[in-house]
Symmetry: C2
Subunit: 441 residues, 2 copies
């Protein structure tokens, strides 16, 4: 199904996937005001995941607003006209559910996971938080301290910090390069009025997707959302289009070295990967699996299994609307950093030049296939899948279709994407007790 | 069901729980040699979790063996007569499964999670690893470097390190006080012969439990284990009894301050809790939920919600055969440590003196109930539950029975356990840039 075929008129419900063994149909309704509701029924579970997703993330922030999306995510837990912060959390704690939220560079999600009988409660609480947040000045102030502590906690964990530093090394001071958390300076500078304006501008019905998966009934979810949103659901605004295409974000790969008194040296080496809708993503997934995606991968075998140089070594991909990242991480003794870096470079170069073996291709495909199916057994991952199909994909690619695309990947496809991705400009970030020592690409 | 009623004779299969809505029966077979097989069928899922659990953990180590259980866990991935390290990991990667292991103070677990059709493969690989590990000298050497890196990685993450330091503050240099990873010195001193002897002594059939959950058939699992273990399953040795009772581990609570150049100060304050089979554990669970177990808890509200002093603040319990831990963690600005510590102490003292409110009691029970049911939807947690019932409990407490015990907790029960646990000797650990500043209890 293409974007053009997506129903945009309010009030109608469409079955966008008929369902398969183990899951019921995926249904979609556009409510007045442009709010979308998507659900996937999983009749054999006893729980439900309910989430509201906003098409807002750190890449939407002007430099002066850096960290506003994530700051706002915190403030939405602080109270509405109907509920204090304690009443929000107590409602879900009382039924043993999870209530949480996360912010990425491209979207923000608020969700609850509860027993199926508690779905009406979960929907009421999450809708209330997202639709009716007061963002009181005193709450914004108290939460400023919490965010600053979150930044300091990230700074104390070099295995976490390195990924923010790497984004900066790769994209520079541009939207995709800046940290989701913001900086101490930007958080201290954000005012309540700015946060509240950001909320009023961004959290409008066309930017929001409600998604539910588990033992749920679509019509009931639609009704719960209508009750939760009340008279905000008016007008004939269409849903915002998914965040796709656009110009690739400009990159300025460089070397960043952070001198820090750590026991281990931490490094990420990598470059620009592929965007979320790039057809090469399946081939890159297979490549990533074989190079550094599991214990049988080349990097794990060479760095850890044979030489015992690292506990943690892996490659990874991230996808955005118009760009992506392919990176290799390792943590090792500072005195071994050159050896580890050299092995990682050699393995990347070997794959870029010669691609994979038949066996690696088959194993990489199996790894993606099995991982995908196993990863869709819980309600939370099903809920995320259908929400993201609205927010950042042109359509919901059925699981069978994804599996078919993985199966279709050839050695030539992998060689081509390896050449494209691994031979492009690379960035390097190193954290460790290196004083003013330099590193070169 | 009591220990006395457990069948110990080889070759017979017993239904130890008839199953309820959403799960099939739990069945148990004792094989010749004393190896136990327990399974729980979950007919609506498409995957299976298969694990082998050894009743061996760091508390079984003599001081000279410190870290041997965990070291051995790593070495078991390095190769058997039939498979190299690469062949072990490649087999499970090829079907997209997870293969992993973990070591605790009281047991060690090796497990795979796969699609149901791949269960025979998973059982073959995990049985091979655990039953036929070669523990070659060169593999033990290579893995020494990996373990040392794991220790350094832990040292670089103060939010992780603090829990090992707290165990030492509470239990001193005794089995429960020593870190599971061992120390740089003990790992450097462990020889291949010592590791191999530890394996041969400890990984004998009576100490092992095979557990599987998901779309599994008990008789098939028994057959797969018999094939995997082959002629090692002989004799009429009974299974080892569960690790229960015994004398409480002696404790020597104290104050430990680690001067470290971190952004945040990290602290754990706590004391001895209750053992795994202590009847007070349900009341302590409710107390923990209300004091620091969720966003609506007193500690979260006072430290984070109202004052914005921390991002992460919580209380927790750990249980062992004859002891337990109740602790409070917070990470905050070093300059705020006295304020945070004072709030935590006040909240602990208030609960120790006056117990909970009716509302907190009800919410704490709901939190435990819902969390338990939601936590048992995946095959891995079901597999763990039935394995631990063999290794560390006297019997498998059915889920309904656990829910009934939670429901039965009264305000007086909570007050009594609060008095017992929170008024006992306390230990305190602090990590941060404190130079030689002292802290007092």
């Amino acid at each position: 199904m293409t974007l053009a075929a997506r129903a945009q008129e309010p009030g109608t419900t469409h079955v966008i996937h008929p369902g398969t063994d183990g899951s019921g149909p995926v249904k979609r309704t556009v409510l007045p005001g442009g709010l979308r509701v998507v659900t996937e029924s999983m009749p054999t579970v006893r729980s439900a995941a309910f989430g509201i997703w906003a098409a807002v993330g750190s890449r939407d922030e002007a430099p002066a607003d850096a960290g506003a999306s994530h700051y706002l995510e915190h403030v939405l837990f602080k109270g509405t006209r109907r509920r204090s912060a304690l009443e929000i959390s107590a409602a879900i704690d009382a039924v043993g559910g999870d209530l949480n939220a996360f912010t990425t560079k491209e979207y923000t999600c608020y969700y609850a996971r509860v027993l199926d009988a508690d779905l009406p409660l979960a929907a009421d609480v999450v809708c209330d938080m997202v639709a009716s947040s007061l963002n009181r000045p005193e709450d914004v102030e108290a939460e400023r301290g919490v965010i600053l502590e979150e930044i300091h906690m990230r700074d104390d964990d070099p295995g976490d910090l390195i990924h923010d530093e790497f984004a900066l090394a790769l994209y520079g001071d541009r939207p995709l390069g800046r940290p989701i958390l913001g900086t101490v300076e930007s958080i201290n500078a954000l005012t309540r009025d700015r946060i509240h304006a950001y909320y009023r501008e961004r959290y409008v019905p066309p930017n929001l997707v409600v998604a539910a998966a588990g033992r749920v009934d679509h019509d009931e979810v639609v009704r719960l959302v209508q009750e939760g949103y009340g008279d905000r659901l008016t007008g004939d605004a269409p849903p915002s289009p998914p965040r796709i295409g656009g110009e690739p974000a400009p990159v300025s790969p460089t070397v960043r070295v952070l001198d820090k008194d750590t026991e281990q040296a931490h490094m990420v080496l990598g470059g620009v990967g592929v965007s979320r809708t790039d057809e090469r993503r399946f081939a890159l997934g297979v490549l990533n699996a074989a190079l550094g995606g599991g214990m049988s991968s080349r990097l794990f075998q060479e760095v850890r299994e044979k030489r015992g140089l690292a506990y943690s070594v892996y490659s990874y991909t991230s996808q955005y609307a118009d760009s992506g990242v392919f990176g290799v991480y390792a943590g090792c003794q500072p005195g071994k950093i050159d050896e580890v870096l050299s092995i990682c470079r050699d393995e990347v170069a070997a794959v870029a030049e010669r691609g994979l073996t038949d066996e690696e291709l088959a194993r990489g495909k199996g790894q993606l296939r099995g991982g995908m199916v196993l990863g869709l057994e819980d309600t939370g991952s099903r809920m995320s899948r259908i929400a993201k199909s609205e927010l950042v994909y042109e359509s919901l690619l059925p699981v069978d279709e994804v599996l078919a695309r993985i199966d279709a990947v050839t050695l030539d496809d992998v060689r081509a994407v390896a050449r494209d991705v691994l031979s492009g400009p690379q960035a390097l970030t190193v954290i460790g007790p290196f004083g003013d020592r330099g590193f070169t690409l």
